[in-house]
Protein backbone atom coordinates (compact mmCIF):
# COMPACT_ATOMS: atom_id res chain seq x y z
CA UNK A 1 0.00 0.00 0.00
CA UNK A 2 1.11 3.54 -0.53
CA UNK A 3 0.22 6.81 1.15
CA UNK A 4 1.26 10.39 0.89
CA UNK A 5 1.52 12.71 3.86
CA UNK A 6 1.82 16.43 3.53
CA UNK A 7 3.00 17.63 6.89
CA UNK A 8 1.69 21.20 6.71
CA UNK A 9 -1.89 22.04 5.88
CA UNK A 10 -1.35 25.82 5.86
CA UNK A 11 1.83 27.77 5.14
CA UNK A 12 1.69 31.57 5.38
CA UNK A 13 4.74 33.29 3.94
CA UNK A 14 5.81 36.82 3.12
CA UNK A 15 6.57 37.88 -0.44
CA UNK A 16 10.20 37.26 -1.49
CA UNK A 17 10.75 34.87 1.43
CA UNK A 18 11.66 31.20 0.83
CA UNK A 19 9.13 28.43 1.27
CA UNK A 20 9.38 24.68 1.79
CA UNK A 21 6.44 22.29 1.57
CA UNK A 22 7.03 18.88 3.10
CA UNK A 23 5.90 15.60 1.63
CA UNK A 24 6.56 12.09 2.86
CA UNK A 25 5.42 8.88 1.25
CA UNK A 26 5.25 5.30 2.36
CA UNK A 27 6.12 2.63 -0.15
CA UNK A 28 8.34 -0.41 -0.20
CA UNK A 29 8.94 -0.21 -3.92
CA UNK A 30 10.16 2.38 -6.37
CA UNK A 31 7.81 5.25 -6.96
CA UNK A 32 7.30 8.15 -9.27
CA UNK A 33 6.71 11.43 -7.46
CA UNK A 34 4.88 14.57 -8.52
CA UNK A 35 3.99 18.00 -7.25
CA UNK A 36 0.84 19.66 -8.58
CA UNK A 37 -0.43 23.20 -7.98
CA UNK A 38 -4.07 24.25 -7.93
CA UNK A 39 -4.84 27.94 -8.29
CA UNK A 40 -8.26 29.16 -7.10
CA UNK A 41 -11.10 27.82 -9.24
CA UNK A 42 -8.72 26.02 -11.57
CA UNK A 43 -7.67 22.45 -12.20
CA UNK A 44 -4.41 20.88 -11.11
CA UNK A 45 -1.24 21.77 -13.00
CA UNK A 46 2.00 19.80 -12.88
CA UNK A 47 4.87 21.66 -11.23
CA UNK A 48 7.52 18.97 -11.46
CA UNK A 49 8.09 15.25 -11.31
CA UNK A 50 10.74 12.77 -10.21
CA UNK A 51 11.06 9.61 -12.28
CA UNK A 52 14.72 8.61 -11.89
CA UNK A 53 18.23 10.03 -12.06
CA UNK A 54 19.21 13.24 -10.29
CA UNK A 55 17.46 13.61 -6.97
CA UNK A 56 17.11 17.37 -7.40
CA UNK A 57 14.30 18.16 -9.79
CA UNK A 58 13.57 21.60 -11.18
CA UNK A 59 10.09 22.58 -12.24
CA UNK A 60 8.14 25.54 -13.52
CA UNK A 61 7.86 28.94 -11.85
CA UNK A 62 11.16 28.56 -9.99
CA UNK A 63 10.13 25.56 -7.90
CA UNK A 64 12.38 22.60 -7.19
CA UNK A 65 12.10 19.42 -5.16
CA UNK A 66 14.53 16.92 -3.75
CA UNK A 67 13.91 13.20 -3.64
CA UNK A 68 15.36 11.54 -0.55
CA UNK A 69 14.94 7.79 -0.69
CA UNK A 70 16.29 7.07 2.79
CA UNK A 71 13.84 9.50 4.34
CA UNK A 72 11.07 8.72 1.83
CA UNK A 73 10.57 12.43 1.28
CA UNK A 74 9.99 14.73 -1.67
CA UNK A 75 9.97 18.26 -0.28
CA UNK A 76 9.15 21.22 -2.53
CA UNK A 77 11.05 24.49 -2.27
CA UNK A 78 11.16 27.95 -3.78
CA UNK A 79 13.83 30.45 -2.74
CA UNK A 80 11.67 33.56 -3.21
CA UNK A 81 7.89 33.51 -3.52
CA UNK A 82 5.55 35.93 -5.26
CA UNK A 83 1.98 36.89 -4.52
CA UNK A 84 0.98 34.81 -7.54
CA UNK A 85 2.27 31.65 -5.83
CA UNK A 86 -0.74 31.73 -3.51
CA UNK A 87 -2.39 28.38 -4.24
CA UNK A 88 -2.87 24.87 -2.98
CA UNK A 89 -0.05 22.40 -3.56
CA UNK A 90 -0.44 18.64 -3.80
CA UNK A 91 2.18 15.97 -3.56
CA UNK A 92 1.36 12.76 -5.43
CA UNK A 93 2.91 9.34 -5.83
CA UNK A 94 2.49 6.71 -8.49
CA UNK A 95 3.54 3.09 -8.27
CA UNK A 96 3.70 0.82 -11.25
CA UNK A 97 -0.04 0.26 -10.92
CA UNK A 98 -0.70 3.54 -12.74
CA UNK A 99 -2.77 5.01 -9.91
CA UNK A 100 -1.88 8.53 -8.85
CA UNK A 101 -2.44 9.00 -5.10
CA UNK A 102 -2.53 12.51 -3.68
CA UNK A 103 -1.74 14.02 -0.32
CA UNK A 104 -4.26 16.23 1.48
CA UNK A 105 -2.68 19.40 0.14
CA UNK A 106 -0.86 22.44 1.54
CA UNK A 107 -2.38 25.89 1.21
CA UNK A 108 0.26 28.55 0.62
CA UNK A 109 -0.75 32.14 1.27
CA UNK A 110 1.76 34.77 0.22
CA UNK A 111 1.43 38.16 1.87
CA UNK A 112 3.02 41.46 0.89
Amino acid sequence: AQSVTQLDSQVPVFEEAPVELRCNYSSSVSVYLFWYVQYPNQGLQLLLKYLSGSTLVKGINGFEAEFNKSQTSFHLRKPSVHISDTAEYFCAVNLNDYKLSFGAGTTVTVRA
Partner: protein, 115 residues
Protein backbone atom coordinates in the same frame (compact mmCIF):
# COMPACT_ATOMS: atom_id res chain seq x y z
CA UNK B 1 -3.44 22.23 -27.73
CA UNK B 2 -6.88 22.24 -26.12
CA UNK B 3 -7.00 21.06 -22.53
CA UNK B 4 -9.36 18.73 -20.74
CA UNK B 5 -12.90 20.09 -20.95
CA UNK B 6 -15.50 19.48 -18.24
CA UNK B 7 -19.10 20.57 -17.88
CA UNK B 8 -20.93 21.87 -16.07
CA UNK B 9 -18.62 23.98 -13.87
CA UNK B 10 -21.13 24.13 -11.03
CA UNK B 11 -24.17 22.09 -10.07
CA UNK B 12 -26.53 22.29 -7.12
CA UNK B 13 -29.01 19.48 -6.56
CA UNK B 14 -31.16 18.15 -3.77
CA UNK B 15 -30.32 14.86 -2.09
CA UNK B 16 -31.75 11.80 -3.81
CA UNK B 17 -31.68 13.54 -7.18
CA UNK B 18 -29.46 12.36 -10.00
CA UNK B 19 -26.68 14.28 -11.73
CA UNK B 20 -24.26 13.71 -14.61
CA UNK B 21 -20.90 15.22 -15.42
CA UNK B 22 -19.20 15.24 -18.79
CA UNK B 23 -15.50 15.18 -19.69
CA UNK B 24 -13.73 15.53 -23.01
CA UNK B 25 -10.04 14.58 -22.66
CA UNK B 26 -7.14 15.91 -24.66
CA UNK B 27 -7.25 14.53 -28.18
CA UNK B 28 -5.36 11.29 -28.51
CA UNK B 29 -5.11 10.59 -24.79
CA UNK B 30 -5.91 6.97 -24.14
CA UNK B 31 -6.14 7.16 -20.36
CA UNK B 32 -8.93 9.03 -18.59
CA UNK B 33 -9.41 9.47 -14.85
CA UNK B 34 -12.23 10.72 -12.64
CA UNK B 35 -11.25 12.05 -9.23
CA UNK B 36 -13.38 13.25 -6.32
CA UNK B 37 -11.95 16.14 -4.29
CA UNK B 38 -13.76 16.83 -1.03
CA UNK B 39 -13.08 20.22 0.55
CA UNK B 40 -9.84 20.13 2.51
CA UNK B 41 -8.69 16.83 1.06
CA UNK B 42 -6.59 15.69 -1.85
CA UNK B 43 -8.17 14.21 -4.96
CA UNK B 44 -9.29 10.59 -4.66
CA UNK B 45 -9.34 8.37 -7.73
CA UNK B 46 -12.82 7.09 -8.52
CA UNK B 47 -12.26 5.36 -11.83
CA UNK B 48 -9.59 5.00 -14.50
CA UNK B 49 -10.22 4.12 -18.15
CA UNK B 50 -7.76 2.90 -20.73
CA UNK B 51 -9.46 3.66 -24.05
CA UNK B 52 -13.02 2.46 -23.37
CA UNK B 53 -12.09 -0.21 -20.82
CA UNK B 54 -12.05 0.17 -17.04
CA UNK B 55 -8.59 -0.25 -15.50
CA UNK B 56 -9.52 0.53 -11.90
CA UNK B 57 -12.83 1.31 -10.24
CA UNK B 58 -12.03 -0.05 -6.79
CA UNK B 59 -12.95 3.21 -5.04
CA UNK B 60 -16.10 3.94 -7.02
CA UNK B 61 -19.28 3.59 -4.88
CA UNK B 62 -20.97 1.39 -7.41
CA UNK B 63 -24.36 1.42 -5.68
CA UNK B 64 -24.80 5.05 -6.71
CA UNK B 65 -21.96 6.05 -9.04
CA UNK B 66 -21.49 4.94 -12.62
CA UNK B 67 -19.18 6.02 -15.41
CA UNK B 68 -18.77 5.20 -19.03
CA UNK B 69 -16.43 6.08 -21.83
CA UNK B 70 -18.08 5.10 -25.05
CA UNK B 71 -15.83 4.97 -28.11
CA UNK B 72 -12.81 5.65 -25.91
CA UNK B 73 -13.07 9.42 -26.13
CA UNK B 74 -15.33 11.49 -23.89
CA UNK B 75 -16.76 10.22 -20.65
CA UNK B 76 -19.70 10.76 -18.31
CA UNK B 77 -19.88 10.24 -14.57
CA UNK B 78 -23.31 9.82 -13.00
CA UNK B 79 -24.54 9.85 -9.43
CA UNK B 80 -27.96 8.42 -8.68
CA UNK B 81 -29.24 9.06 -6.06
CA UNK B 82 -26.99 11.78 -4.64
CA UNK B 83 -26.20 12.06 -0.94
CA UNK B 84 -25.06 15.07 1.05
CA UNK B 85 -21.56 13.59 1.37
CA UNK B 86 -21.20 13.61 -2.42
CA UNK B 87 -20.67 17.37 -2.29
CA UNK B 88 -17.21 17.81 -3.80
CA UNK B 89 -15.30 18.89 -6.88
CA UNK B 90 -15.19 16.18 -9.53
CA UNK B 91 -12.01 16.33 -11.57
CA UNK B 92 -11.40 14.69 -14.89
CA UNK B 93 -7.86 14.07 -16.10
CA UNK B 94 -6.25 12.43 -19.09
CA UNK B 95 -2.82 11.18 -20.05
CA UNK B 96 -1.27 9.92 -23.24
CA UNK B 97 -0.21 6.56 -21.79
CA UNK B 98 -1.01 4.18 -19.01
CA UNK B 99 2.57 4.14 -17.75
CA UNK B 100 3.11 5.50 -14.29
CA UNK B 101 5.55 8.24 -15.26
CA UNK B 102 3.22 10.01 -17.65
CA UNK B 103 1.86 13.38 -16.65
CA UNK B 104 -1.88 13.63 -16.12
CA UNK B 105 -3.61 16.78 -17.38
CA UNK B 106 -6.58 17.99 -15.36
CA UNK B 107 -9.75 19.83 -16.26
CA UNK B 108 -11.14 22.68 -14.16
CA UNK B 109 -13.55 20.40 -12.39
CA UNK B 110 -17.26 20.37 -11.64
CA UNK B 111 -18.23 21.65 -8.21
CA UNK B 112 -21.23 19.69 -6.94
CA UNK B 113 -23.28 20.87 -4.00
CA UNK B 114 -25.92 18.50 -2.63
CA UNK B 115 -28.47 20.16 -0.35
Amino acid sequence: EAGVAQSPRYKIIEKRQSVAFWCNPISGHATLYWYQQILGQGPKLLIQFQNNGVVDDSQLPKDRFSAERLKGVDSTLKIQPAKLEDSAVYLCASSSSDTSNTEAFFGQGTRLTVV
